[in-house]
Amino acid sequence: MNSRVVLHFAGIAFVAATGMGATAAKIRVVATTPDLASVAREIGGDKVDVTALAKPTEDAHFVDAKPSHIVTLNRADVLIEGGAELELGWLPPLLENSRNAKIAAGAPGRIVASQGVKMLEIPITFDRSKGDVHALGNPHFLIDPVNVKIIASNIAEHFAQVDPGSASLYRANLAKFNARVDARLAQWQQQLSPYRGAKIVTYHKDFPYLAERFKLDIVDNLEPKPGIAPSPAHIAKVIGEMKSANARVILIQPYQNRKTAETVARQTNGVVLEIPQQPGARKDSGTYFEMMDYMVTTLANAFRDQK
């Protein structure tokens, strides 16, 4: 019995060790978050095997540094990270133990998504009395489709370096992707153009890139400072601001406290919209485009109903 168990485990180890050769045709891509994974799939097509470390429904600031992630990173050909300190609390210890030179800082297999993106809210001073402020700027930049094009071309260039044989395919996929983003962006802008300047409140500071692109006005956040839980005094202040600005749309993520948002909505005759920023958080939005479609459509409908 015991020897059988040992043989079984040895077999698994052997398959794992040799199996790498069998799947070498595809490049193994690991993305820290599902949104980056979705873009990687668009660019890599069937030449890549993409895994996301963070779950679409969880707060990507606080992912557990699970040992299984070490294994995933150890076997990766490419790592795509947000880069603006979103993963600071869990990615460094994983990388330290992953022992994979292919994804070391500066290697062709390491993609920093924020590179080239015009970051918003870069702090002038680093002061934690202002809450959980990221030194490199607000890390929630993927919900601006223009930024996604920058990230996609970054990804395509790195894929081409890692897998030169398919470089032309990655560049062709990039061109297709960009054309699709342009077309959809025009449509999304059309959907939201009647609501330029529409007033919204968000739980965390995670929507400024969307607001900037689609000219929405973020009145305030339910968190008094990034990462700091809403206090009754701050909630009262936000309710006052919403009433005087006639703002009635509150945006939250699946992991944020819906009860607090509902309380504010009741006081302001408003509506709480759970609009995930990660593909896969909703069953019907598995890709970046579906996620953005849901985001824009839900917002446009809410603004229309509030008029």
Binding site: G89, R99, A104, D182
Partner: protein
């Protein structure tokens, strides 16, 4: 006045509406251009110079992360002198207030081949005197082939789960009883080398072995000057004659994701080396450890969660014939001193930043000609409650019910406060 004439009024209306139409058309074209600009203008091609990033260089991030962490404890115990029940060097030391641990942490990439770490501890003893110790200083290789990794320097030996964790990462105010008994007040750490191999199994498996010096205050069960507390004899001075005089610590651990939201990590460790009860005496410590965690798929700031952690250890201390410290004319006989202990702790992250915990400790040792209260039967139960205002501060309240055979029960209540400044290295699972 002119407007009173209907003719002129009509002419003006026509001119105005023409202008209005021209304006409308211009506005529409500007809007269309705006849309186009929005979608293309800021999309810089990859590889091209990034838009001027105005992020100032992070002073603390320039080549090295600098962090500082301080733990302050205040409380009371039914035992006037708390040291017999709080044996850890970073445990509360007196009734009233203590600062048993502050750490200055420095880390960063040394070059493309090594990462460097150091922890320098400043602490106040029971008299308020400052003590300084070089707790850890080591490098970790970053680019060895074949999934290998070396750690070189002074470091907490990777035995079990909690031994290699720093006090601020502990879920309780004090260290588990079994760790105090096996590894003394400071945990098992020494100068040496650790080789680790990430085994190519489909699930996480890491096998490692540490080879380290076996003599100093932090190798309690081995050639430590404090070993009289275990065997009662006068420690024998012995120099390193061969490999057998070094401390060898093998460990293997594996992890499995049981479900999307549950992870299990299990490990087994050994610590084998000489002790100083005689010229050839050896100690063997074996341990198993487990950690299970459930975290909600929609966790906010990592909450809610439920975790269980347990470690069990056993020690065979082969004591040689040795003159007793208490009376050097008495020679204590050759014997194997056997000890064992375990703890289990459950943590419930009820809602963001609030954790309730419960730990149970048991330890005992076989009877020996040299009797010491530190090897006797002991049970401790510790419920606690922690509030983290942010990741950088915490308040903790803990009650300890302690029962030592022959000494009766003691009750203690401790409050702990922690703050962290600067960079803080993220924790391993």
């Amino acid at each position: 006045m002119l407007c009173n004439s209907p003719m002129i009024g009509q002419q003006q209306d026509t001119a105005a509406s023409k202008q209005q139409r021209a304006l409308d058309s211009l506005a529409a074209r500007v809007a269309a251009l705006q849309t186009r600009l929005d979608s293309i203008a800021s999309a810089a091609p990859a590889g091209a110079a990034a838009p001027a990033q105005t992020a100032p260089v992070r002073a603390s991030g320039a080549y090295m992360n600098v962090g500082f962490d301080a733990l302050t404890v205040g409380g009371w115990s039914s035992l006037r002198d708390v040291r017999p029940i709080l044996l850890g060097d970073h445990d509360p030391k007196v009734r009233g207030f203590t600062i048993p641990n502050t750490e200055l942490t420095l880390d960063g990439a040394v070059d493309p081949y090594f990462k460097g770490f150091s922890n320098i501890v400043f602490k106040l003893d029971e008299n308020g005197e400052t003590g300084v110790e070089l707790e850890e200083a080591y490098v970790l290789t970053t680019s060895l082939p074949a999934n290998l990794q070396f750690k070189i320097g002074q470091f907490f030996t990777e035995f079990g789960r909690q031994n290699s964790q720093h006090p601020h990462a502990w879920a309780f105010v004090d260290q588990p009883v079994v760790l105090s008994r096996m590894f003394g007040p400071d945990g098992l750490r020494s100068q040496g080398v650790r080789l680790s191999w990430l085994v190519p199994t489909p699930f996480y498996t890491e096998a490692m072995v540490t080879v380290a010096n076996s003599t100093n205050g932090t190798t309690f069960s081995f050639r430590s000057g404090e070993s009289s507390g275990i065997h009662g004899g006068v420690p024998v001075e012995r120099s390193v004659a061969g490999f057998r005089d070094l401390l060898i610590v093998p460990r293997v651990s594996s992890s499995f994701d049981l479900t999307e939201t549950q992870t299990l990590l299990v490990g087994a460790s050994g610590a084998l080396g000489p002790n100083n009860s005689g010229p050839d005496a050896q100690t063997r410590i074996f341990g198993v450890d487990g950690y299970w965690k459930w975290k909600s798929a929609t966790a906010a700031a990592g909450f809610p969660f439920l975790s269980f952690q347990a470690e069990a250890m056993t020690r065979q201390y082969e004591a040689d014939a040795r003159p007793a410290v208490a009376d050097p004319t008495v020679v204590l006989p050759v014997q194997t001193i056997a000890d064992r202990g375990a703890y289990g702790q459950i943590l419930w992250g009820i809602r963001p930043r609030i954790v309730a915990g419960l730990r149970a400790d048991v330890a005992n040792g076989d009877d020996a000609p040299f009797a010491t209260p530190f090897r006797g039967e002991r049970v401790r139960l510790s419920p606690n409650f922690t509030w983290y205002p942010t990741e950088f501060s915490k308040f903790r309240l803990q009650y300890n019910y302690d029962n030592r055979k022959g000494f009766g029960s003691d009750h203690s209540l401790w409050a702990q406060f922690e703050f962290i400044l600067g960079a803080h290295a993220a924790h391993r699972f």
